[in-house]
């Protein structure tokens, strides 16, 4: 048997079912790895005691003949999910001291299926960022290094701690959330699989809100199959989230190996953009060839409004964020900076509680929603969003799924991030359109750069057709045979 921390969820599930491994043993090994990996700052809060209690309870259930979909599997939870009795920070100072007395639906679903929580992972403040550099709790670090360059790399963001934990063998899988690429981009940067499900597939109840019409929870794991297993445990209708889809959750694992023979895969010409390194273009072409070799037909398609997705996103998302983040006022929970005057108390609390990127977005949001600018910015962006969604709708008339690069670069150095906010936003150029259209998107590790950093490909599917997305992703995974791992992990 390989090291327990090196198992995939599917492998661990089989060993647990065969009685060759207990959840307690697996969880102890995983806690050891979590402690040994503290230098990566992947976790904000470790919960080893809770993990051991949950593992023992899982072992008892199993000996009683019960086993859920994630029975006994130790996972990490992005610190954006409210967890009962465990601090939930959203990576922000403004939630200082906040301990939810309720459990998010997604984590509750996972725990009901037997998952074991190792801790809460680091993230960009309020999930706003693409490098995990905006967390109040310090940057999470990517376990990967470029060949011959030992300087630290960012894990991507916002779910950077989750990606780092999964890549660094500090969890078998982790939850993420994805508003504009926050699962897929860090997954690509860290060489793991990340799935943003269709909007509405997973409940948003109990997830700290960023942009409510875009936020979606999803799994991060070390194989496509593991992502499918996790999604099956996370998803489902929830009456407490009015946008949660009331539809059956299929067995996402069932047809994962069914292959892509006869499928039509769209290759959007607008995703060939200037400034993207040749090796990313080459990897994309290789991905197309892998699918063709397995019997799929590649079809060039047009998604003509692609270039407007990022600017539309940077109106819609900040507008929703400025509204959602109005709740942090120093009165109900978290940080309060005292003052004799109520308005001054609000203003000082929010000035000291929010970091620079969050303030920028809240202010942009307040501006585009303010009288006189609402139509010019917010309404316009919502209309452009409709055109982007129409582009995809048109594509589905001819193709079953779409293949694109996941990111325009590999993980960059933590000491040399993009110079200004807009340059940082360009990280999400390939992922943001998918959120605007509400579609499922999967990032699969598919190769390495010339200097040994992971690169991902993105598979996009029709609404609620995660099964096809996972099938295509599995075909890429099988062809890529990606078995590289960060040094020493």
């Amino acid at each position: 048997m390989s090291e327990p921390t090196d198992l995939t969820i599917a492998e661990a599930r089989d060993l647990l079912a065969a009685g060759e491994l207990s959840s307690r043993e697996l969880t102890e090994a995983q806690i050891g790895a979590m402690e040994a990996g503290r230098g990566l700052n992947a976790y904000i809060t470790e919960t080893p005691e809770i993990a051991l209690d949950m593992a023992e309870a899982s072992d008892r259930r199993r000996s009683g003949g019960e086993a859920g979909k994630l029975e006994g599997i130790p996972v990490a939870i992005k610190d954006l999910f409210c967890t009962r009795g465990v601090p939930t920070t959203a990576g922000s100072r403004i939630l200082d001291g906040f301990v939810p007395f309720y459990e998010s639906t997604v984590t509750a679903n996972m725990f009901a299926e037997g998952a074991v929580m190792l801790g809460k992972t680091n993230l960009d403040e309020f999930a706003m960022g693409s490098a995990n550099l905006t967390s109040y709790y310090g940057a999470a670090i990517n376990p990967w290094r470029a060949r011959g360059d030992d300087r630290e790399r960012v894990p991507g963001g916002s779910s950077g701690g989750s990606a780092s934990a999964v890549a660094g063998r500090m969890a078998l899988g982790a939850t993420g959330t994805d508003t504009g690429g926050s699962i897929r981009q860090p997954a690509a940067f860290c060489g793991v699989v990340g799935l943003k499900p269709t909007y509405g597939r997973c409940s948003r109840w109990g997830v700290v809100a960023f942009a409510s019409s875009l936020d979606q929870a999803g799994p991060m794991a070390r194989s496509v199959r593991d992502a499918a297993i996790m999604l099956g445990a996370m998803a489902g209708h929830d009456p407490r989230d009015s946008t949660s889809a009331d539809m059956p959750v299929p067995d996402f694992e069932e047809d994962i190996d069914a292959g892509v023979k006869g499928m039509r895969i769209g290759i959007p010409r607008e995703y060939r953009v200037d400034g993207v390194p040749g090796e990313i273009e080459a990897l994309w072409r290789r991905g197309v060839r892998w699918l063709e070799e397995q019997g799929a037909a590649a079809v060039e398609i047009g998604l003509p409004h692609t270039k407007y997705a990022l600017p539309a996103y940077y109106v819609v998302a900040p507008a929703e964020a400025s509204s959602n983040l109005a709740r942090y006022d120093g009165v109900k929970y978290g940080l309060r900076v005292e003052s004799d005057d109520l308005t001054a108390m609000y203003e000082q609390t929010r000035a000291q509680g929010f970091g620079a990127e969050v303030k920028r977005r809240v202010l942009i949001g307040a501006y585009v929603l303010s009288a006189g600018y609402y139509d010019a910015y917010y309404l316009k962006a919502q209309k452009v969003r409709a055109r982007i969604a129409d582009d995809f709708r048109e594509a589905w008339r001819t193709v079953d799924a779409i293949l694109t690069p996941a990111t325009p670069s590999a993980a960059f150095r933590a000491d040399d991030p993009p110079a200004d906010p807009v340059a940082m936003y360009l990280n999400d150029i390939f992922t943001v359109p998918v959120n605007l259209a509400g579609l499922p998107g999967l990032s699969v590790p598919a190769g390495l750069t010339h200097d040994g950093l992971p690169l991902g490909l993105q598979v996009v599917g029709k609404a609620f057709d995660e099964a096809t997305v996972l099938r295509v992703g599995r075909a890429i995974e099988a062809a890529a045979g990606f078995d590289a791992r960060p040094a020493g992990r």
């Binding site: 946008t243 203003e347 000035a351 202010l363 307040a366 501006y367 209309k383």
Partner: protein, 95 residues
């Protein structure tokens, strides 16, 4: 679209975020940069396009108008920075 410091001060007030002179100067530059970049949305023909307000087409559900939650004042209080006799405490607002 260039944002001046007075406009930054106005929206910071709307957003209830205290700012210093130095911050307003920096923010005016950064926010102008973002808004300039957003201007390209003007190139898209959106004549007769309905604004998209949600990610997927789905009718919102309604439910019985009954109480389904509550009675958790003590739980809420545990997270409040200041709480007394069943009330969240704020600075005095009436003389």
């Amino acid at each position: 679209m260039s944002l001046d410091e007075a406009t930054v001060a106005r929206i910071a007030r709307l957003a209830r975020i205290a700012t210093t002179d130095e911050e307003r100067e920096r923010l005016a530059g950064e926010l102008s940069g973002i808004l300039d970049w957003v201007e390209q949305l003007g190139d898209v023909d959106t004549e007769s396009v309905e604004p998209m307000t949600g990610a997927i087409e789905m009718p919102l559900k309604s439910r019985e108008d009954t109480v389904t939650d509550g009675g958790v004042a003590e739980d809420i209080a545990r997270n409040a920075p200041r709480y007394a006799q069943g009330f969240l405490v704020v600075p005095k607002t009436v003389e």
